[in-house]
């Protein structure tokens, strides 16, 4: 975790340089500080919260820009956001944005929700149904004079392209429009931090990416940390400057989406990141001059894989993750390939899931199979057309083709 944090700092150097003068200007600035001082502030949180059997225990920092909080349902994503927003009181820890302490168990600080002025977009959006779009957006500006309020609401409606909806009732607008209203309503108060709890999960991809673009554009000027909760892998890659992987209340990994999701160091992250095939393996031999090494999978002596080189001793154990979509199937022994792994196998089952066929194969050459012994199985994803043209059926003999760099090594 420590190394991941220093990486973030490097990652956000560009953003921090801009905000440096502002940071030095902050002394005891809290919600009523001038807006300029709030820019570039960073969220630092250590939170421990027990809810029955479940324990959330996390520590992280989030700088300006998107930080994706990724994890399966029940991993504590929403609890984490609720603690930062002040809707749930942690048992222990400290939550700070810039110089403003929201919560600190050691000094018994617990700033009320209304004082924190954290922008919070709920999964259900929670637009006020009895108010118009304009009234919704202006809701957080009650303490400002009418003219200031109108001007800020007006410019926010323009920034988020909803000016034409101003006098419409919040219950008479579309899903995408509602998301824009909810975002505008949270941002109009100029918060130091924005929390988004899967607000865009119900939208189609084009609508979603347009909204994200507008949000990025807004944040270019304001440069606040944005915590974006999601359980969708696609969103992690599409949005994240940085990702925090959460599972059962703990942070499993953090870093850039590329680091965390394409080369996961832990098996749990790999499962979350969509590695259908994860194997225990032993390093058989290393080929430093070729940048590769050979690994033997499991106890079976039949399957060898050529993988990228990793600093590991011969004979040490590693884990290999292979995405089901990264494996090719051939019905005859392929020739003249760049891929280094060609493994004989037999189709055991085929299952159609939506437009993907999930094919489970048993690996290893026929002669080496010992009756009663557990065979190594791999999951391979195919298109419907590929299944039909190859006339795949259970029992069919096939060859698996796996590129060296499709084999992802993880720590055991």
């Amino acid at each position: 975790m420590k190394s991941a944090m220093s990486e973030t700092e490097i990652h956000h150097t560009a953003a921090r340089v801009v905000s440096e003068p502002d940071l030095t200007a902050i002394h005891s600035s809290c919600p009523d500080s001038p807006d300029a001082q709030r820019r570039g502030s960073r969220l630092e949180a250590r939170i421990r919260k027990q809810l029955g059997e479940f324990v959330l225990d996390v520590g992280f920092r989030a700088a300006c820009g998107f930080t994706i909080v990724f994890g399966p349902s029940g991993s504590g994503k929403t609890t984490l956001l609720d603690c930062v927003a002040g809707l749930v009181r942690p048992d222990k820890g400290r939550i700070q944005v810039g110089e403003c302490v929201f919560y600190d168990s050691s000094s018994h600080t617990d700033m009320p929700v209304a004082k924190r002025r954290v922008g919070h977009v709920f999964q259900s959006l929670a637009l006020f149904p009895h108010l118009t779009v304009e009234q919704n957006v202006g809701y957080g500006l009650a303490r400002f004079p009418r003219a200031t309020c109108d001007a800020r609401v007006g410019s926010m409606l323009r920034d988020f392209r909803i000016a034409h909806l101003a006098v419409r009732s919040a219950r008479d607008i579309s899903g995408g429009e509602s998301q824009r209203v909810a975002l505008a309503r949270s941002l109009v108060t100029d918060p130091a931090l924005l929390l988004l709890d899967e607000p865009l999960s119900a939208l189609d991809a084009p609508t979603k990416s347009k909204i994200i673009d507008d949000l990025r554009e807004w944040n270019r000027m304001h440069c606040i940390p944005i915590l974006y909760v999601t359980h969708s892998r696609e969103e992690v890659f599409a949005l994240g400057d940085r990702v925090i992987v959460l599972d059962r209340g703990r942070i499993l990994a953090q870093g850039t989406p590329h680091e965390v999701m394409t080369a996961p160091l832990q098996e749990t992250v790999a499962q979350l990141a969509g590695f259908e095939n994860i194997f225990e393996a032993t390093v058989e031999s290393a080929h430093p001059s070729q940048g590769s090494m050979t690994c033997r999978i499991g106890n079976s002596d039949a399957v060898f894989l050529e993988t990228p080189l990793m600093r590991a001793d011969v004979g040490s154990s590693v884990r290999i993750g292979i995405r089901a979509g990264d494996i090719l199937l051939a019905t005859s022994l392929p020739q003249g390939l760049s891929a280094r792994n060609v493994i004989p196998a037999r189709v055991r089952s085929l299952e159609q899931r939506d437009v993907i066929v999930s094919c489970v194969v048993q690996c290893g050459a026929e002669g080496h199979r010992e009756p009663g012994k557990n065979m190594l199985e791999m999951e391979v994803h195919l298109t419907l057309a590929a299944r039909d043209s190859l006339q795949l059926a259970p029992g069919r003999e096939v060859w698996l083709v796996i590129k060296t760099h499709s084999c992802h090594l993880m720590r055991g």
Binding site: V113, F122, S124, A126, F128, Y139, A170
Partner: protein, 235 residues
């Protein structure tokens, strides 16, 4: 019905009618003010002993009016600390006065205001209340800008039910107020008196008037609740 009313309008005890109307207006207005904070507490408190308060608020629904009236009478009388304090302050007892009636009626009609209020507050989407807080609104502002506007049908129901219930009450009034014309003689007691005196046509005229008022009020209540989901944005 109107013919019936017009024909016997002379028979109606208008003094009792206006007194009852005044009582019902004062009681329902007072209950609106007292009932809102109680209902807010009942709807949102997480206190462990909340059920006790709910049970106390609901008591007048099941308690015989004579029991409630008896205790109110005792509490207002010169033997209770409250009654003594009032006598020391004003020189006369609250029992058998109009304001004694008001106190008794407020207690008697309390659940008819608090329960609809609390039910409609509790039905407001909790996320809206949280959203209001994250936007910097105080509890009071959240109440007036979000909870109350979304609870309008419940507020109308509570006000109308407590009004109608006070209009028609009998037992508590008789116990606390007695039967003093112009002071504590309400419509329902007037009807009782006329029946005792075998003045059935007079009793009928007054009863029809009361029936009509209560029917109209309940029609308003159910009419607004039917359109509960068609509330328009507040301009």
């Amino acid at each position: 019905m109107f013919v019936l009313l017009a024909g016997s309008s002379m028979a109606i005890n208008w003094q009792a009618f206006w007194l009852t109307l005044r009582l019902a207006v004062i009681v329902s207005a007072a209950l609106f003010v007292i009932g809102l904070p109680i209902a807010y507490w009942v709807a949102f408190s997480r206190a462990r002993w909340k059920f006790l308060v709910e049970a106390i608020v609901a008591l007048p629904i099941v308690l015989p009016p004579t029991v409630l009236g008896f205790y109110v009478l005792v509490a207002l009388g010169p033997r209770s600390p409250l009654g003594r304090w009032w006598i020391a302050l004003t020189g006369h007892t609250l029992a058998f006065t109009f304001w004694g009636l008001v106190i008794g009626s407020i207690l008697y009609s309390l659940p008819f205001a608090v329960q609809p209020f609390a039910a409609s507050f509790a039905a407001v989407d909790r996320k809206l209340i949280l959203a209001s807080a994250t936007l910097g609104a105080s509890h009071l502002r959240t109440f007036f800008r979000v909870i109350a506007p979304l609870s309008i049908p419940g507020l109308i129901t509570g006000a109308a039910l407590s009004f109608a219930h006070t209009m028609g009450e009998f037992g508590v009034v008789l116990m606390v107020g007695g039967n003093i014309p112009g002071v504590t003689r309400t419509v329902s007691i007037d009807i009782y008196d006329r029946v005792q005196a075998s003045d059935y046509s007079g009793a009928n005229a007054t009863a029809v008037l009361l029936l009509a008022i209560c029917f109209v009020l309940l029609a308003i209540v159910y009419g607004t609740n039917r359109r509960a989901w068609a509330v328009k944005p507040v301009e």
